[in-house]
Every structure is written in structure tokens, then in C-alpha cells.
Symmetry: C2
DNA sequence: ACTTTTGCTTGCATAATACAAGTAATAACG
DNA sequence: CGTTATTACTTGTATTATGCAAGCAAAAGT
């Protein structure tokens, strides 16, 4: 893969990497929904096809947004996790959620509105700290035992 | 057009609307680069094809992100502008820019780094206020004379 | 041993995007 | 007034991205 950047605009360049149907969704699933393995992703609500998932995970790796590891007690499963570069996309994802919460409910009334969304609405920074903290904890645990 | 939302996740739903190669780029061009007419867009660095531009502008209208107007002294040009719903995407666009600034320069060294980017880096909130303020001013001027 | 699970790949269908050309309605110019 | 240029598109075709179904090898479970 060799990304063709459309131009020198930083905003457009970000979208050259992330502007498709799946990249940010997969990152969100890892960050917010504890998805770690191939199977986890295939079972998610978004129902990504396995060939797309496979190719997107490869792209994410090439961009340095995702790394893989195996756990010693499980030779079958591969664990995917986010790098710091991907964790720095947290604000982008949060802002998308805030916008969605405010503007998409009219067209799409069944969008979830749980405690998490309420926290995001009332204290975005705290929401960000909480999820990033949780993710880093989990990551540390996995890294400690993976090889 | 009838958007198929993949699921009830607010983040994914935002990407059902915005997650493609062009939607956020066009919004950015209007917000940050004073693009207003069909011609403006075709002449931009991103070099969008006219058929894509046409279909994306239609989508943006249908989503309530863009409206059109004509100026009394010009029967040829159609002026496209952002709605409040689209202006609320400013934080998303800024966060994409911040991420790009921090992480994409290595892979794509020619990304611009001007006064605007410096302000974005050092004072995101101020950057947001400035560009949104400027846009609203311009919009008010156009609205005052359009029919 | 046999079956199931996991992490993929392959083949084919459809949808999104790209490129080139053409068109109708203005507007500008001689 | 007639000719040319500009603007906002559409149409046709090629290429790329995504979707769906099936298959497959390695590991795990029974």
C-alpha cells in the first residue's frame, strides 16, 4: 500500500488515511468496545465482512495505528491493539459522537443514549480521560503477558 | 438517497453520513478556504471530479449540511453555504488537523505548516472561534443580498 | 479421531469513485 | 447582434472499493 495524498492540506491528508467507511469504526470498536480479535470484530453490530476486515487491519498496521500480538496460552487468537498514534484519534472520535448525539437523532432515532453518551455530552474531557485510561490499563495487562 | 445506518452506535452513525472520501473535505473547503461555487470546488487542490462534486453537493443538501442561494447580480453562479449543523462539525475537522499535524508529517513531509496551523496547534479553541466567526460574517453578508 | 473455532483467502457481484467528453444556460466581447 | 467563454452540470465508461458466500488450514475442544 502506498497512500496517495491528494494535496498538502493537513485536514485532507488525515482523510486520505481515515476517510472511508471502516477505518475509524474499527478504531472506535477497539477503543470503546473492547474488540481485540478477528472474531470480536466480525461479531460486532456493524457486521463488517471478513475480507474487508482483513484488508483494513492490514492497512491500520501499515499506517502504524494497530499492532498485533499473541498470548502465550492461546496460539490461535491474534490480539490487535491501538498504538499511541491511534489513541491520539480519541478527540476526533469523541467529536463525531457529540455531533451525532446533537444532530443525527432526528433522522435516526434509535441511536443509543446511555450513561456513556450522557458523560460525553456533559464532560467530554472526562469521558476522554476515562476511556483512554481504561484502554491503556488493558493494554498494559496484555503487553505484560504477550510475547 | 436514503442512508442506511449500520447500527445504533452514535460514532458509527456519524461515519455513515461523513465517512467517505469527500464529504468532510468539501465542508472543510467551504469553512476554511472560502469555496462557494461549483467552479471554486473544481479548482481546489483536491481536484474533485465534477460528477462526484455534483452528487456530493446533493447529498450534503439532503443531509441538511449545505444550502444553495443565488445572488441577484449573477444568474449563473450558485452559492453553496454551510448550515449550523455543518458548522458544528468544526471541532471534528480541527481535531483531524491536529492529528495530522502531529502524526502525518513523517509520512507526508510537504503538509503545509503556516500561521493557521501554528494557531491550531497552540490554541485550538481560538482557532475555532476565529474561523467560525469569519464564516458567519461572510454568510450574513451573502444572505443579506441573496434571494 | 472427529468436530468446532479462529483467522483468514478466494471468487464473484455490486457500489463508489475517476476520467473524459458533452450540453444548456448565462455572460462577456467584438 | 453574433461569436466565444464561463458555469453548472450530465452522460458514458473504466477502475477501485466494498459486499456476500464459500472454502481452508491451524489450533482447540470433546
Amino acid at each position: 500500500m502506498e497512500t496517495k495524498y491528494r494535496c498538502n492540506c493537513p485536514f485532507t491528508s488525515a482523510l486520505d488515511v481515515l476517510g472511508d467507511k471502516w477505518m475509524l469504526v474499527i478504531i472506535k470498536q477497539m477503543l470503546l468496545e473492547n474488540k481485540e480479535t478477528f472474531k470480536d470484530f466480525t461479531e460486532s453490530d456493524e457486521a463488517i465482512a471478513t475480507n474487508i476486515l482483513s484488508s483494513k487491519l492490514k492497512q491500520l498496521e501499515e499506517y502504524g495505528l494497530v499492532t498485533k500480538s499473541k498470548l502465550p496460552n492461546n496460539k490461535k487468537s491474534i490480539y490487535y491493539h491501538l498504538t499511541d498514534k491511534a489513541l491520539d484519534l480519541t478527540p476526533v472520535i469523541l467529536e463525531l459522537g457529540i455531533w451525532s448525539d446533537k444532530h443525527l437523532r432526528e433522522a435516526h432515532p434509535t441511536i443509543v443514549d446511555d450513561d456513556g453518551m450522557q458523560l460525553l455530552r456533559t464532560d467530554k474531557a472526562e469521558f476522554g480521560r476515562v476511556i483512554e485510561g481504561k484502554y491503556r490499563e488493558k493494554l498494559a495487562a496484555i503487553m505484560a503477558i504477550s510475547h
